[in-house]
Amino acid sequence: MAIYSKEEARSILEKALSFSQADTCEINLGGSNEGNIRYARNTVSTAGYNSNQTLVVQSSFGKRSGTATINEFDDASLEKVVRRAEELARLSPENPEFMEPLGPQEYDDSLTYKESTANITPEYRAKVAQSSIDPAAAEDVTAAGFFNDSEGFSAMINSKGLFAYNRSTNMDFTVTMRSNDGTGSGWVTRDFNDVDNFDAAEASRTAIDKAVMSREAQAIEPGKYTVILEPAASIGLLQNMVGAFSARQADEGRSFMSAPDGGNKLGQKIVDERVSFYSDPLDPRVPTATWNGAGQPLKKTVWLENGVVKNLAYDRYWAEQKGVEPVPFPQGGIMEGGDASLEDLIASTQKGILVTRFWYIRSVDPQTLLYTGLTRDGTFYIENGKIKHPVKNFRFNESPIIMLNNLETLGKQVRINGNLIPYMKIRDFTFTSLSDAV
């Protein structure tokens, strides 16, 4: 199915809007073409191609709103979905927090689309799988991996004259390599907007090496350890921390970001002064769209600077209540790093644990942002500046706030899931039990 150009999208949206009889109407249109290949047991398992488009209409009469969606765009369907949203709006109770749609906005041109990624073929995907499977089989290792590429667009229009459009491409790759004796496992992830930055063989090699190195792990006592967290390990905890940057939840007293006196922690130092975290849609390493689904422009925003909370996210309603400008949540984050390579961090560690990734992270206590989860796919004991041996996986119970207060060293940044996150060395990270899982 076609990815609509700006003008094609505008034409469908204008047509849909022309059917509106509501006081206000906002319509989002998006579509994607996605291809994937999945492999396991050193052979291909499933592969697919999906194409879908959705149009979402929100119609409002006064403070009554209704939303309806459809994935057919002929005139009759467009009229039908608009009527349906209006019908729902009329049936809906008033929402006192209703905000009228935004007027016209200025958006930066995004950097999210790369032709190379849009042109990926089934043959290319099969080669990616082969780049994992062949070297794995040569080393008594079994590959299970997934490569997914997507090309998509999103657009919106509203009855106040706003129009926005963005086109993007993405590719994501993960592979798990397991030694055939069942005692070792390694993993790697890569993601890019531009597939030309991706080297399947290099990534697969990293995972194979970890699988081989992690064989026959030894059990060591759980407890507090100095850890070197690869970005794939820390990202989950950091994303959960950013999720707590909602001003409203904080002001309502039901968030880590709440201050005991009834306010929030804006302006307070909550983590080590070397921690700075911002979002920038125009960073070419991790570009995002320059507007969000509500039509708000996305600009560079500093969330943590020198350990101090510089911004909390305010939705439009809450911003109005508090008399401040709205601050939308970011779509990706950049944590400032240091110069140290992974090798440097290992070399400077007397006794510690190298963690490839964390898995199954779940909230335990939202008051303290306490999370639990486990290490997976390559956990190693470090002694006197060298990796000494693999260790069995641990369960942790830890808060990203405690983690970032216990920062020892920041390393180089790596792109991970659309974010830039540094390697980090952390002291006193809390592991609470052992797992036999490989």
Binding site: N71, N148, S433
Partner: protein
Amino acid sequence: MKRRDFVQYAGLGSGALMMPSLLMGNPISQEALLAPRMDVALKKQLADVALNTAKSLGASYADARIGRYLNQFVITREDKVQNVVNTESFGVGIRVIVNGTWGFASTSTVTEKGIQEATNQAVGIAKANAILQKEPVVLAPTESHGEVSWKTPITKDFREVPISEKADLLLSANAAAMEAGASFVNSGLFMVNEQKYFASTDGSYIDQDVHRLWPFLNVTAVDRAAGKFKSRQGLSAPVGMGFEYMDGLDSEKVAGPAGMNLYRNSYDIIEDAKMAAEQAKAKLTAKSVEAGKYDLVLEPNHLGLTIHESVGHPLELDRVLGYEANYAGTSFATLDKWKSGDFKYGSDIVNLVADKTQVGSLGAVGYDDEGVKTKKWDLVRNGVLVNYQAIRDQVHMIDQNASHGCCYAQSWNDVQFQRMPNVSLEPGTEKYSVADMIKDVEKGIYIAGRGSYSIDQQRYNFQFGGTVFFEIKDGEIAGMLEDVAYQSNTQEFWNSCVKICDKDDYRMFGSFFDGKGQPSQVSAVSHGSSTARFNDVNVINTGRTI
């Protein structure tokens, strides 16, 4: 696909009058969700386009799933309806085997041409990947069902219940919570109707109409002076039922400890909201648990999640075989353990069954998403591991020649694969109530409702929280506890199961969003049990000071 084309097709195909509202020029029914479904004869005709195209391109097998997926959400907080959303998604997914290799493609263009193109893509993908294929697909035989249909047995279709009634119910629940001292309440209803048509080159044409419902509730109490907040979730379960689940029938209430009610096949959201507010407030000052070993008394709406994670997932054959190694993980319950015939998964009283037919459950359908008639089967019998969950292309790997009927795709847009059926713990056979169980415990904790949950990728080590915790001292409930989580190992845990209440206490937990696969897909599944006791489980204290 243009709706108008459907009408034309119907005229050509069956002569049946379909979509009368469209023909009358008024596509809006009361909630528009009630627009009639596509005529079955037309679906068959379109599905045959896929099957015939695939065969002509060299496919040895093909199936087509034409799906219309309707969702409705009503979302509220305190005295406000925040949103009412209806979604509809319509399209077709086509799966083929060419040269022993799977290919899949989907499209929302449900026309002859759109279907032909998607079938071409599916075949192209299979051919490109066949070069890498080392294990050609082997499909277990399945019956050809001809033209059949199935429908979730419901008495109140959510699509016929006015939005205002739904909103009023939620707002009444919110008001009850606020009156009982809550600081905040979030509540909502999530309703699903899957209209699925399946056709395969095996000669099955299966039309199914599936309904699911999930009322959710979260009540928060804030103590500003102390800088603390605590939340208490609702004790409903998502169900494979119609709106009748919201009737709040007294006959479906089960008395819990400390004056609280628990719910079987009917949910009283107003009563639960009031209790949630009282318990959220009580949690603010509840005693923080002392870490150590306790006998746990686990209520079904809590135990269901533990069953899900520590039994449902590790016994998925695709995980055992390594197909999910890159995402969900593998399993400790390896084939050698099953083959030994004496692997003690749990104590002698532990019987765990898989069931895709249980009335009211989220997993209930007549046929799975590759046309296999659903059934019930044993996974663990008298504590011993006896079987897995397997579908057509994998069951031969455990030397069985019939799929278990647990294949599912979350949408027409996703490829179907093995998904967890309802997995449930059979109730105890002797008369034994929850009150009897509590009386028998010296040092224990009663846990109700779901909480934090985390388990490793081979399903050995897990940690679970809950919604509410009560200390049991010398056979009596001794007040609420907080900061409770238990950590255990799957096999140790199920072998520490010493008592299970009888069938009078049996009810189902449910999850709407069980995630698995790449690209990740969700699936809805229920887990039934009676309250059960597990001895000497390690409890940690999760309280922290920052």
